[in-house]
């Protein structure tokens, strides 16, 4: 059984027929890091918020389950959900808006510790300062007494990281955790996340658009486009033997200089079939249906009719 299992997750805007996430499936194993990669607007943050049961107003979950050790975490009926404070924590994409602007940051971390780790106030306070040190913030004492607006963008991001790591969750969701950090500190944060996984055996959902960070950090990776999982598998499988036209396109984008004269198409959430259909060079009739994930190799799944066609031809 997987530590975290997301299946059939479908999310949409209220009163609109279109889905922002459709039939999203992936798992996070204990002691492993699962990368979630995809271009801007592909639904990475939305997936994370749905897992945390923190979808913004106006967005509804239409189907799907989220299970932690087999326990249902989001159910239609909220009463039946038993969610513990330290089951999951999330590092938000925009830390400054996630932090409380009116509370000193040391106190905010301390509060999280009091609630999640059942610590006393004094112990929580010194642990908070210690955590700020760990995430490479110089002068942690000064910073603990500062309000978020007195800190740089990267410092706020590290405050969030410190808070999340201090809670020692079973599952850590990190949404673009290092966008505001320089590469040396990014490397340090990556090490801290790896240490946490090693020490506590937690699972991590690591959201990023940086394929280099995926290569460096993750065991497995899920590629998202237009709210559809395109491919999921071992990092090595997906990087060196990618089976999905979109994944190939994504890798090409790394080397391709975007040519502004080419009209790049936006995600089309209205499509009934494959979300990549309007950009895919291989699209054919079958793609008007929605492609479900199918295994192409052990633990390596793609949602593309192309392989299903090839397989059908091959076996015929």
């Amino acid at each position: 059984m997987s530590l975290l299992e997301v299946s059939g997750l479908t999310v949409g805007v209220e009163h609109s027929p279109h889905a922002l996430l459709r039939d999203v499936d992936f798992t996070v194993e204990a002691g492993q890091i699962m990368g979630l990669v995809g271009e801007s607007g592909s639904g990475k943050t939305m997936s994370a918020l749905a897992i945390m049961d923190l979808l913004p107003a106006g967005i509804e979950r239409r189907a799907g389950t989220v299970r932690l050790d087999g326990r249902d975490l989001v159910a239609q009926d909220r009463e039946t959900v038993d969610r513990n404070a330290n089951d999951m924590t999330m590092i938000f994409q925009h830390p400054r808006s996630a932090l409380n602007p009116t509370m000193r940051v040391g106190r905010q971390i301390g509060r999280a510790l009091e609630i999640n780790q059942d610590m006393g106030r004094a112990a929580a306070r010194s642990r908070a300062t210690e955590m700020l040190n760990h995430v490479g913030i110089p002068g942690a004492d000064r910073v603990a007494r500062a309000y978020p607006h007195q800190l740089s963008g990267g410092m706020c991001q590290r405050v969030m990281i410190a808070m999340a790591l201090a809670c020692r969750p079973r599952v850590l969701i990190a949404d673009e955790p290092t966008t505001a950090l320089d590469v040396t500190i990014q490397a340090q944060i990556f090490d801290l996340i790896n240490d946490l996984v090693e020490e506590t055996g937690c699972g991590v959902l690591f959201i990023t658009h940086d394929l280099g960070a995926i290569a460096e950090m993750c065991d497995r990776v899920t590629v998202l486009y237009g709210g559809q999982v395109m491919e999921t598998g071992d990092v090595r499988q997906v990087f060196t033997d990618s089976r999905h036209p979109y994944t190939q396109f994504l890798f090409d984008a790394v080397v391709r200089e975007a040519d502004p004269s080419v009209e790049e198409k936006d995600v089309n959430f209205a499509l009934q079939g494959c979300r990549f259909g309007h950009r895919c060079p291989y699209a054919f009739d079958a793609c008007a249906e929605f492609p479900l994930l199918r295994e192409v190799d052990t633990g390596h799944l793609t949602s593309c009719f192309l392989h299903q066609k090839e397989n059908a031809l091959g076996s015929a």
Partner: protein, 314 residues
């Protein structure tokens, strides 16, 4: 004459025990139509420098000349506000939460009266096309956009009034490769058309390499190296620049973890050591570094470096 000239600029926050000198004596010039990349450790003062330059914060001391004119108290003039724009690190700071995208984009044109009313809609469509977002987004509010979409609207908004200088604070860090490519192309084409200069603050070194003409590397409130872009990347001089460049993650699966992690910790800005501020972490540290402060010295080929080991080896 440079478009922007900054002389011995200092900016501190707080006082007494909490005194934080965020910018400690910065000199730089930016020419018309030029892109200066500004990189450096988190918390080293990049945003603060940017905010002081665009007039959002008063410097503690030092001088800023814009187009040859000393700026003192003139910063709030509408003319300066049109000519100098900033895209904030955190898109929520650039965007009004309650304002729809179309109003957000029209607002600077309306306030600064730079375009006739009937041209506004056309310019909005054009800029939306350039940032790669369809017209469906025009009626949304920031809360209904993804992080990267918010950032693109913030960039579009800054470019609307036809500024001479734009300070872009981490404009592409929340964007994926293909959108990043579009934004770079957009910035470049506007630069060619309108001769606008950019100060491009970023941790994303590969993007800086693609867009900047020159790069300034900051450490603890000072510029420690400034040089033409290719020279910085191919032949970095300052020990901090070298460490910074070595830490970029690569997609090479067989080369995981080959990055160098700098020893020691960055000193707190409220507790800077005597001498060179990089001494505690520097592999080339020697006696003089703890006694004297190195100063930015020109190497004579457009490069300037602030390190005894480089500028004064014996």
């Amino acid at each position: 004459m440079a478009l922007l000239e900054v002389r011995d600029l200092h900016k501190s926050f707080g006082h007494g025990r909490t005194l934080t000198p965020a910018v400690r004596g910065v000199d730089l010039e930016v020419d018309r139509g030029e892109t200066l990349g500004l990189v450096g450790e988190s918390g080293c003062g990049k945003t603060t420098l940017g905010r002081v330059v665009v007039g959002l914060q008063e410097p503690s001391s030092g001088a800023i000349y814009f187009d040859g004119e000393l700026l003192d108290g003139k910063m709030s003039r509408p003319e300066y506000r049109r000519r100098v724009q900033m895209v904030f690190q955190h898109p929520a700071q650039s965007l009004n939460r309650r304002m729809r995208v179309d109003t957000t984009l029209a607002e600077p044109l309306r306030l600064l009266k730079v375009a006739p009313r009937d041209e506004v809609a056309g310019r909005i469509d054009e800029v939306m096309r350039l940032v790669g977002m369809g017209p469906d987004y025009l009626k949304r509010r920031p809360g209904q956009l993804s992080g990267g979409q918010q950032q693109r609207i913030a960039i579009a908004r800054a470019l609307m009034p036809g500024p001479d200088l734009v300070v872009l604070d981490e404009p592409t860090s929340s964007l994926d490769q293909s959108v990043r490519g579009r934004i770079i192309a957009l910035l470049r084409s506007i630069q060619e058309e309108q001769d606008v200069a950019y100060v491009f603050i970023s941790h994303d070194l590969s993007t800086v390499r693609r867009i900047a003409d020159r790069v300034a590397v900051m450490y603890l409130g000072r510029i420690v190296e400034i040089a033409p872009t290719e020279q910085v990347f191919k032949d970095p001089q300052h020990p901090y620049t070298k460490a910074l460049l070595s830490a970029v993650p690569s997609m090479d699966l067989d080369n995981r973890g080959s990055r160098i992690i700098l020893a020691g910790e960055t000193p707190s800005p409220s507790d800077v050591p005597v001498g060179c501020s990089f001494q505690d972490r520097c592999p080339l540290v020697h006696e003089r570094c703890g006694l004297e402060e190195p100063r930015l010295v020109s190497l004579g080929d457009g490069r300037k470096v602030e390190c005894f080991a480089v500028t004064d080896p014996n």
